[in-house]
């Protein structure tokens, strides 16, 4: 045996190893394939040997060859052999090969199950690690099912190295075996708080991936993630979490409100660009999800746009790209704020980097207005000419069309210009988007009736120059344009200047080289043209002319009859016969024109693409119902062959329409008629009502092209769109002049004008009247079409299976399959880690426990409900800046110094159960019904509350009662009474500038506060060179840049164009915070406008109230109780009379203005907590009497407390 091994090893000495193989391949550059096939033969020999080292070496080489594109699936079994080697060296080689080449279709993969299980429980962490890594690449549904439990055990392994890998691979397991998600989830969640940062990061990673696909199931984790976000320093984790929040906010706007502040802080504080960028991204997502109601909403947008502009202006192309990318997200909801950066974006269009140009193009979509559309498109057209690559040029082309056609051609003022642009685009060679241009031409010509004449003239020119296009047909898609051209010329032939000429152009022999479907359209439209020419000639009495045209047709049509394309051939031969018949008639001097044109009478209306789908199912028609009862499956036909007929006879009478059905039938008939009337493809005997509607107002209604529009009457072969730009300018200028005149008149007459206040040199969009008043025919839809949104969800989406409610309790059937007989022998080290979930689910084994189980289920249901409410609780504890926060529910015992040591979560649960037991049936019913989604429930509750609120007497504040029952949702009706407030207070203002400020403490730097000053330019001048100088006091100092003296001003880091506001932040260091104080300051700036620049000043007083030194800090009631018990707090109290505001709003005010958070609330009594930047604890007990409020405070500093209470008194007095 030993000898054999030694022999094998010696053999091996002469084998090639990987390095030799690589070297060999490099030395055989000319006949690489041959050399490799030689090597593969050698490898096959090596694989036949017993020596595992030889095999491993062979497999290692195969892995390399796989990378070069060689199929190695034939060696799958050998790979498994190497995987099962006892030595780590070989095992690793085997697993690597498997991870590179195995997939679900590999049939031997099931043989690996036991091997992998063995490796997973190996005492060596690297064996386990390598198995996990390998498995992550080739896990199949079977493997996932069989190994899920083993992997779950590993999630609690003692070594973090294994834990993190096990956590990460769970995602792959979930994907392949969705049933494992629910049992494994509790543990996964646990890992979010793992002491090892790597494991934590892995867990965040997995949950983020899961949540990205089905965010709503993970909302309940938001508080946990929020905590991680504010505590973690790992940028990777932060980025993931912030991205996750971006996905969650659309589902829960309250979350967004909570996020804004920490995110803004991160934006200001982080130095990592990647983190900054993701923060900005998520803030954008938040802002998108919050439609309104944020006081510093615009400030946040402004901040984002500002930061993005910095990114875009950066010399680093990566940042530029990302800046543009994020900008396009803002564009969707806040186009205005992006539009101000038009200059920058247009600049990016000229960037040498294609990725950046493409992004800039995306943004352009939102930049256009009626005013600048022509200008922008002109710019794009020059780019089209310059573009070197076809992909970029095609992209430009589609963008031009997108931009112009967006929202129903909203921005096009002159359709002649647009047609010219389209015609110009046809000059592009090698574009793939011919059909796009064609579709646009058709659309515009059909829907914009006023443009048809012009369109027809352009199209006939196109047809005439068809040889240009046809010369390089087939290869490129641009000939598609001829499809549109031919159709337009045919359909609207009455507008043709020289129909005969066009007819000849369409019958040229060259046409037969066009693709079949285009020829088919040619043939069809040739007849239309022919019909109209015939009519013209007959009316003019030129019988000979008419016959000549017929002769032309008879001569030329045969070329189409010979076409290889069936469609063309069929149409052509049919028409040829028709024309021949006409020829006979003409010979007999019979007038035929009328009848021929009757073939094409009527008009085609545009039909919306979804029209067919939207036809409603008539009432009473069930498409899924069987017309005849299906044969039941249980009875096979052999048994009762006759039954079919027998039953049918029996059933028939049932189906016979009874008299009552007559009505129904009539109704259906009516509905069908309606439908047919709406169906453009249904040939009607008489014009449908709808059509008449469109015909009658159509022609007269379209205000004819304005006469002053100096369109060149003679249309050149290919028009230049540029001329329209000039024309448009002139036209606008004229319009403006007229308007000015009118305005003057109006002034004299003192008439009211609503819109025309544009004294500014720029005119607003609405002021530009379109060149043609265009009646854009909307696409037809069937009547009472269902406004259904198409479910875009792809049924094959693999992530759909993971859309699982994670809060539901585990059922017995759900536990992961365990290999029982093996479990005992393999569970060595991780034995103590048998999953808790499993234990739980194992317990109720016997039937006798069924009852218990039911009970437990009930409990769990309740728990689940609570969980959902915990989220609400969390979302409402700390007050969001704007709307009033809602205090949390509290136990009805109501004592402030609660002695429980339980977590607040439990407490509020207790409270809930208690309360539920006692009162409110409705609520109880709610519980029983157990709606699966907290959202729906919330909705219902809100309604309930509203009705309740009406019923209740006004003595009891409406908030209190609900608060006792449930946590009140943010946005509950009573809060609507409170006007939205801003934390920004007015600092100073004059005619140039308005200053508002907000003072925020920061926990990181004790004794420092940040003063955010929003400067708003309200003049028409540009404000620049702004400087802020503040006189320091002994107690408070402004942080200045190094080297500057106390008397120097601190520059404001931006300039303000007219009407713009921006925020600057300054840091002040405060010595003692127990007293409020004021600082004097001056803002100096230069106001510059057309007339010149002036130097201006504005004095202000910064008021640092004691409240501004407080930081909203949530506090749990147990901690709160301990704090009160400790006894080292001094006490003081105030009382304010004459208060009519509800308690709810009162608390909100205190929270908002004085930065407190509610700890507990019982009826009309609440405890509140806050913390100063220097770490003083401040506890309040707020009680509401009939018409008064008393506030008892405890604080570690008595002066601070008394000052705070004074401030509070002032606030309350206003209520």
């Amino acid at each position: 045996m030993a000898l054999k091994m030694v022999k094998g090893s010696i053999d091996r000495m002469f084998d090639k190893n990987l390095q030799d193989l690589v070297r060999g391949i490099r030395n055989h550059k000319e006949d690489e394939a041959k050399y490799i096939s030689q090597c593969i033969d050698e490898i096959k020999q090596e694989l036949k040997q017993d020596n595992i080292a030889v095999k491993a070496n062979a497999v290692c080489k195969l892995t390399y060859l796989q990378m070069l594109g060689y199929d190695i699936s034939w060696a799958a079994f050998n790979i498994i052999e190497v995987m099962s080697a006892s030595k780590f060296t070989f095992k690793r080689i085997g697993y690597l090969a498997a991870s590179q080449s195995f997939h679900e279709g590999t049939d031997v993969i099931m043989l690996t199950t036991n091997q992998i299980r063995k490796d997973l429980s190996s005492p060596s962490q690297y064996d386990t690690g390598v198995a996990l890594t390998g498995l992550s690449c080739f896990v199949t549904p079977d493997l996932a099912r069989d190994l899920a439990n083993d992997i779950m055990t590993l999630m609690s392994h003692t070594k973090p190295y294994i834990r993190k890998k096990a956590v990460l691979i769970m995602y792959k397991v979930f994907l392949k075996y969705p049933e494992s998600l629910r049992p494994a989830f509790p543990r996964l969640k646990e890992k979010l708080e793992d002491p090892d940062p790597g494991v934590q990061s892995a867990a965040v990673n997995v949950i983020c991936e899961l949540a990205r696909r089905n965010p709503k199931n993970y909302l309940s984790l938001a508080p946990l993630f929020f905590k991680l976000m504010t505590s973690s320093t790992n940028n990777w984790v932060l980025i993931k979490i912030i991205k996750l929040f971006g996905a969650l906010t659309p589902l829960e706007p309250r979350l967004g409100k909570k996020l804004i502040e920490p995110l803004t802080n991160l934006i200001h504080s982080t130095s990592a660009m990647s983190l900054l960028y993701e923060c900005v991204n998520t803030v954008i997502a938040v802002l998108i999800s919050l439609s309104s109601g944020m006081p510093n909403h615009s400030a946040s947008i402004q901040l984002c746009v500002q930061k993005l502009r910095i990114l875009i202006e950066d010399s680093d192309q990566n940042l530029k790209y990302l800046g543009l990318l994020a900008m396009s997200k803002i564009l969707k909801t806040h186009p205005k704020s992006v539009q101000s950066h038009k200059d920058l974006i247009l600049q990016c269009l000229d960037d040498k980097d294609e990725s950046i140009r493409l992004r800039a193009l995306d943004l352009l979509y939102g930049m256009v207005s009626k005013k600048n559309l022509m200008e922008i498109v002109k710019k794009l057209m020059t780019h089209v000419d310059k573009a070197e690559g076809t992909t970029y040029r095609d992209e430009l082309l589609t963008k031009i069309i997108d931009i112009c056609s967006q929202s129903n051609y909203q921005y096009i003022t002159n359709f002649e210009w647009y047609i010219s642009i389209l015609v110009e685009l046809t000059r592009l060679e090698g574009t793939r988007h011919g059909h796009l241009i064609a579709a646009q031409m058709l659309d515009v010509a059909i829907r914009v009736k006023a443009i048809r004449k012009f369109a027809v003239s352009q199209m006939s020119a196109l047809l005439d120059s068809a040889h240009l296009l046809a010369s390089s047909t087939q290869r490129n898609g641009i000939c598609e344009v001829l499809y549109a051209a031919a159709w337009i010329c045919g359909e609207f032939s009455e507008h043709l200047q020289e129909p005969h000429h066009t007819l000849e152009a369409m019958l040229r022999p060259r046409v037969t080289t066009l693709p079949g479907h285009i020829q088919a359209v040619y043939v069809q439209n040739v007849v239309k043209l022919y019909a109209s020419i015939l009519q013209q000639k007959e009316q003019a009495g030129e019988a000979e002319g008419a016959q000549a045209v017929t002769q032309l047709m008879v001569d030329r049509l045969p070329q189409f009859v010979q076409s290889a394309d069936l469609e063309v051939q069929e149409r052509a031969s049919c028409i040829l016969q028709l024309v021949k018949h006409i020829q006979k008639l003409q010979a007999k001097d019979v007038p035929v024109a009328e009848e021929v044109s009757a073939l094409f009478a009527g008009e085609l209306n545009p039909v919306a693409p979804k029209a067919q789908k939207k036809v409603p199912v008539p009432e009473g028609l069930d498409l899924d119902a069987w017309i005849n009862e299906p044969l039941s499956d249980s009875e096979s036909e052999d048994e009762r062959p006759r039954a079919v007929f027998h039953e049918e006879e029996q059933r028939r009478p049932k189906h016979r329409p009874s008299e009552a059905d007559e009505e129904e039938l009539a109704r259906r008939r009516e509905a069908r008629k309606q439908e047919q009337a709406n169906n453009p493809f249904y040939i009607k005997s008489s014009p449908s009502p709808q059509k008449r509607y469109q015909d009658t107002p159509g022609v007269e209604h379209i205000p004819v092209v304005q006469i002053d529009l100096s369109v060149p009457l003679k249309v050149p072969g290919l028009p230049m769109s540029d001329q329209y730009v000039k024309l448009e300018e002139e036209r606008r200028h004229r319009q403006k002049l007229e308007k000015d005149k009118r305005r003057k008149k109006r002034k004299e007459k003192e008439k009211k004008g609503k819109r025309r206040h544009s004294s500014l040199p720029t005119e607003s969009d609405e002021d530009i009247a379109p060149a043609q008043q265009v009646d854009i025919v909307t696409e037809e839809m069937p009547e009472n079409a269902l406004p259904s949104d198409e479910d875009d969800k792809d049924p094959n989406d693999p992530y759909r299976a993971l859309d699982i409610d994670l809060d539901k309790p585990l059922a017995d059937s759900e536990k992961l399959p365990i290999q029982k007989h093996r479990n005992t022998e393999t569970s060595k080290s991780p034995e103590k880690d048998v999953p808790m979930v499993e234990k739980k689910s194992k317990k109720p084994k016997k039937k006798e426990k069924k009852h218990k189980q039911k009970e437990r289920d009930k409990e769990k249901k309740k728990e689940k409900e609570k969980k959902a409410e915990d989220l609400d609780f969390w979302l409402s504890t700390t007050p969001p800046p704007a709307p009033a926060p809602t205090p949390a529910p509290v136990p009805s015992t109501g004592e402030l110094s609660v002695n429980t040591v339980t977590t607040p979560k439990d407490e509020c649960e207790d409270a809930k159960t208690e309360v539920q037991g006692e009162e409110d049936d409705a609520e109880g019913q709610d519980q029983d019904k157990k709606s699966p989604k907290p959202k729906k429930k919330k909705h219902r509750k809100e309604k309930e509350e509203r009705t309740k609120g009406k019923k209740k007497s006004k003595k009891q504040p409406p908030g209190s009662e609900e608060a006792a029952g449930e946590p009140v949702q943010n946005g509950a009706p009573e809060e609507e009474q409170l006007p939205p407030e801003s934390s920004y207070s007015l600092l100073a203002e004059n005619s140039y500038v308005k200053m508002t400020c907000d003072i925020r403490g920061s926990l990181q730097e004790d004794s420092q506060v940040t003063v955010a000053i929003v400067l708003e330019n309200r003049s028409s001048s540009i404000l620049k060179g702004m400087e802020l100088s503040v006189l320091d006091s002994l107690n408070a100092r402004m942080a200045r840049p190094q080297g500057s003296s106390v008397h120097d001003g601190v520059p404001v880091p931006f300039q303000l164009p007219p009407g713009v506001s921006n925020e600057a932040q300054y840091v002040f260091t405060i010595q003692s915070i127990v007293m409020a104080q004021k600082l004097k300051g001056t803002l100096s700036f230069i106001a510059k406008n057309d007339e010149g620049a002036t130097h201006e000043k504005l004095d202000f007083r910064l008021h640092f109230s004691c409240s501004s030194y407080l930081i909203t800090t949530p506090c749990y009631s147990d901690a709160f109780a301990k704090l009160l018990e400790s006894g080292d707090l001094s006490m003081s109290s105030i009382k304010v009379d004459g208060i009519r505001m509800s308690f709810q709003n009162l608390l909100a005010k205190i929270c908002f203005h004085h930065h407190f958070s509610v700890v507990e609330r019982v009826d009309s009594c609440a405890s509140m907590y806050s913390r100063s930047i220097q770490g003083h604890h401040v506890c309040l007990l707020v009680k509401k009497g009939e018409n008064s409020v008393s506030v008892d405070g405890k604080c570690s500093d008595s002066t601070l407390l008394s000052n705070l209470l004074e401030e509070m008194k002032a606030t309350l007095a206003k209520c």
């Binding site: 030694v6 090893s9 010696i10 091996r12 000495m13 190893n17 990987l18 390095q19 690589v22 070297r23 490099r26 080292a53 070496n57 892995t63 390399y64 796989q66 990378m67 070069l68 594109g69 060689y70 780590f88 060296t89 690793r92 690597l96 679900e104 690297y126 996990l132 890594t133 992550s136 690449c137 993190k164 890998k165 990460l168 691979i169 995602y171 792959k172 790597g198 990061s201 892995a202 990673n205 997995v206 991936e209 990205r212 940028n235 990777w236 991205k243 660009m273 990647s274 960028y277 993701e278 192309q317 990566n318 530029k320 790209y321 990302l322 980097d353 294609e354 990725s355 950046i356 493409l358």
Partner: protein
């Protein structure tokens, strides 16, 4: 998720390919070729992000790459990854290679592709980022190499030193 990690040189020769979704060998080669085609024609001082790799499909996906001397490191990722984060990750990857190979050059990758795979396996697992801390990665790699060394005795030693 990371969909694929590719390393190839200035001529498009693959030096490492790791796909986190199954593709046939032919498709893999096609993806490498296409990616090389897209990446190689870009200037040095343009951005490192690229959209429109058709094969690894989906508008959700992006190519993020870095070019070091003779090698391109390309990561194909979907929208759940942070673009700048991945760029940092590539940097960490290259620095780790540099540490493990001591002044890494293309030849190291050519002859020791298995080692590169092992290093990568400590950073990215099944398409998800496992570890970003270079010291941690190097520690694990060293420990595994030590384990490997302890297993080999004279006759079985793979002749890696050449």
């Amino acid at each position: 998720m990371i969909k694929a990690i590719l390393i190839f040189n200035n001529h498009g020769k693959p030096r490492l390919s790791k796909f986190y979704q199954p593709y046939s060998e032919d498709t893999q080669q096609q993806i490498i070729r296409e990616t090389f085609h897209l990446v190689s024609k870009r200037d040095e001082n343009v951005c490192n992000f690229l959209e429109g790799g058709l094969l690894i499909g989906g508008s959700d996906n992006k190519l993020i790459y870095r070019h070091y001397a003779t090698l391109y490191f390309v990561f194909c990722v979907d929208s759940s990854e942070s673009e700048l984060g991945i760029l940092d990750l590539i940097q960490v990857f290259v620095e780790t290679l540099d540490k493990c190979f001591e002044n890494v050059c293309e030849l190291d990758l050519i002859f020791h592709v298995d080692k590169v795979h092992n290093i990568l396996a400590e950073m990215v697992m099944g398409g998800m980022v496992l570890e970003t801390n270079m010291n941690e990665i190097v520690t694990q790699i060293d420990a595994q190499n030590k384990l490997e060394k302890s297993e080999t005795f004279i006759f079985q030693s793979p002749r890696q030193d050449r």
